[in-house]
């Protein structure tokens, strides 16, 4: 199982490369314009997968703060009104996070290198209040932001590509690249 798991770990990077190559191949080699665009979608999502993988941390949760942490964060300003409204949601999130924490601790036992990290983490837990924010606990939010942009760019490009495809179909009556090129060649 350990072996499988380690394969699964590097698998993430491999799969992104495989997916990307599938997309790239389709982009270059497919003859049908819509197929090319599908390839493009796959190509782009593969890159997004890569980015998201960068941001992943073992045992970290989603980059949204728990209620008490948020509270801790701005206790000086004394803003409590958000707290009531979202009590339920954040409670649920907190529960989920605790579970993940437990998993993370199991993990830590398996890896010596991680154990050290975790000790310091626990130390810092002791030093501060239990609700302090630790970077190790949350997935990297930056890559998520970047990838939101990338997704949007992807759909925008897809839309434009489809529009051009439709225009080409209107003009040549085909969405096969070779047929269109043939028409241009013979039409001249």
């Amino acid at each position: 199982m350990e072996l499988l798991q380690s394969i699964a770990d590097s698998f993430n990077y491999w799969i992104y490369i495989i997916l990307m190559m599938i997309g790239l191949y389709a982009l270059v080699a497919k003859n049908n314009l819509v197929k090319k665009l599908i390839g493009m979608s796959i190509f782009q999502t593969a890159i997004i997968l890569f980015y998201v993988s960068i941001g992943y941390k073992d045992g970290a949760t989603i980059p949204i703060l728990y209620e008490h942490q948020a509270h801790h964060g701005h206790h000086d300003a004394g803003h409590g009104d958000a707290e009531d409204a979202h009590h339920d949601v954040e409670h649920a999130v907190e529960e989920a996070a605790k579970e993940i924490h437990a998993v993370a601790e199991d993990h830590a036992d398996g890896h010596d290198a991680h154990a050290d990290d975790h000790d310091t983490l626990v130390d810092s837990h002791d030093a501060h209040t239990s609700s302090a924010i630790h970077a190790e606990d949350f997935a990297n939010p930056l890559v998520h932001v970047l990838m939101l942009t990338a997704i949007v760019v992807g759909v925008a490009t897809l839309g434009v590509g489809l529009a051009i495809t439709q225009k080409l179909y209107g003009e040549f009556g085909s969405i096969e690249e070779s047929e269109i090129i043939e028409q241009i060649r013979t039409g001249k």
Binding site: L27, L33, F43, I47, I54, I164, K167, L168
Partner: protein, 505 residues
């Protein structure tokens, strides 16, 4: 307000693009003046920024008030300021020119056209002034999406060309994005200067990841700039796009991509890494030599005026890629200088091609017959552009070649020098072929007529809005040539931080 000038470079065209999209639906006639005003303002802002950079050194403009690695910043040094001025001025000239073309070639859609036009300009300006590697990608996509549309709004063949461009452009941009990702996984930063600092302090230069990042980014940008083996999308795109589209894209898009390449190599990876640790100058210079020759020879084979010019762009891209990889300060100065002068040169000849197309409706080079008689002023503008591309002093093109050849000699890359000269000669052949056609006309002058052909009754010059940009571009070419020392001193100020003089072989 001058400290806010950097944002205004971008803000004017970008906001006006949205306004044009709105207002243009109801009042079509407003699109053009709005475009002009906004680009004029952008030119002013970029000039003011350039003045500040020259006077006080690089500007770091924090967007959102966040200090650099956390927020996005504009990092404007001499290089970006110069290129920004070039982009905005070229855009303004093209916009003036576009008045008659846009309505004629894309009826009903002029508001969308101008909106896209302005968005393209904002995208390009955004690429130039940003200091953030990922923001550059976003801007790249803004510019790319608009280009696809601006090309696809042309005739039948333009649509297919646009689709190919879309595919190639996406591959290029994605490679760039992936390269930035590889940089990020190793450095954890997106700010260009920050990445550079981390690369140096953490000693990451031997990491294969950084190598792959470098290759991905370089190849991605090469695809976008149509560097020779990756150029196949370019000729048809620019040849069949609407006139204004090719007028704006031919001078700017490839040049801005070269700016990105220079920026990445010098600012992000650093010349030390790109030229010394990797040490593949020779391969790249040879590739550039092939690109130069292939572009020039490709141009020789063309009968279609605009298509011929597109092959010249490919050759010019070879100049600049090669010039950068000469790894010599003078060569890089030449590359940067060539970005500017080539933008105007290409603009000049494309404006001319546009006028010829508008006046005669023909695409091939024989449409030029007798042009010297029919439109002498237009031809004067063309001559300056052609001389500049050939490299005849005192036009800008001569001086960029001057620096490039000097760099080639300094670094001992004789093959590059020879290729440059051969390409100049081929350009001479190309343009004198055109000049000959224009000068001799279909039938040789009827020999010994009494009223020695000086009567201007037959003259039909292009309209004022077409002629003005052409002649201004010609004037700018000469002015750049005469004032090249000043430009070069700005470029060398920029380059002085990289210690290139010591890092050459």
């Amino acid at each position: 307000m001058t400290e806010q000038a950097p944002i205004f470079i971008l803000l004017f065209p970008f906001l006006t693009a949205v306004i044009v999209a709105l207002v243009g639906l109801r009042h079509k006639s407003l699109s053009w003046p709005l475009t002009l005003v906004s680009l004029g303002a952008s030119v002013c802002a970029s000039l003011s920024t350039l003045a500040q950079v020259v006077e006080h050194g690089p500007i770091r403009y924090k967007l959102g008030g966040w200090s650099p690695p956390f927020g996005i910043e504009f990092h404007i040094d001499g290089l970006s300021a110069l290129v920004a001025v070039t982009v905005s001025v070229v855009a303004l000239l093209t916009a003036i020119y576009s008045k008659d073309n846009v309505d004629a070639e894309t009826p009903d859609k002029s508001s969308q056209y101008y909106s896209l036009f302005l968005l393209l300009v904002s995208g390009l300006l955004g690429i130039v002034i940003t200091g953030d590697a990922f923001n550059l990608y976003v801007m790249l996509e803004v510019a790319a999406l608009t280009s696809y549309a601006l090309i696809a709004m042309g005739n039948k063949r333009a649509s297919l060309a646009a689709f190919k461009y879309l595919i190639m452009g996406t591959i290029g941009a994605s490679f760039y994005l992936l390269g930035v990702g590889y940089l990020y996984i190793k450095t954890g930063s997106l700010n260009m200067l920050d990445i550079r600092e981390i690369l140096e302090t953490a000693g990451l230069f031997n990491s294969p990841t950084i190598l792959v990042a470098f290759i991905l980014i370089t190849v991605g940008v090469w695809i976008k700039m149509a560097f020779f083996p990756l150029h196949s999308w370019l000729p048809n795109c620019y040849a069949f796009a609407p006139t204004t589209s090719s007028n704006i894209m031919a001078p700017l898009v490839t040049k801005v991509m070269i700016y990105v390449m220079v920026r990445m190599v010098l600012t992000v990876f650093g010349p030390n890494y790109a030229f010394e640790i990797l040490d593949w100058e020779n391969i790249v210079v040879w590739l550039a030599v092939i690109a130069i020759l292939a572009g020039s020879i490709g141009a020789l084979a063309q009968k279609d005026l605009r298509k011929m010019l597109t092959f010249l762009i490919i050759a010019e891209v070879g100049y600049m890629v090669g010039g950068l990889w000469l790894a010599d300060e003078t060569g890089i100065t030449g590359t940067i200088f060539h970005i500017i002068s080539d933008a105007f040169m290409t603009l000049c000849v494309f404006l001319f091609a546009g006028i010829v197309f508008a006046k005669t409706g023909a695409r091939d080079i024989y449409a030029l017959e007798g042009m010297f008689k029919k439109m002498p002023l237009t031809m004067v503008g063309f001559l300056v552009g052609a001389f500049s591309l050939i490299g005849i002093p005192p036009t800008a093109g001569f001086f960029s070649k001057w620096y490039l050849v000097q760099g080639g000699i300094n670094s001992g890359n004789w093959e590059y020098v020879v290729a440059l000269l051969i390409s100049s000669l081929i350009n001479a052949v190309l343009f004198f072929r055109l000049i000959e056609i224009a000068y001799f006309g279909k039938k040789p002058a009827e020999g010994h007529d009494h009223h020695h052909g000086d009567d201007h009754a037959k003259v039909s010059e292009a309209s004022f809005t077409m002629l003005l940009p052409l002649l201004s571009t010609a004037a700018i070419l000469i002015v750049i040539g005469l004032y090249n020392k000043e430009l070069v001193s700005v470029i060398q100020d920029f380059l002085s931080q990289f210690n290139l003089a010591t890092s050459i072989r």
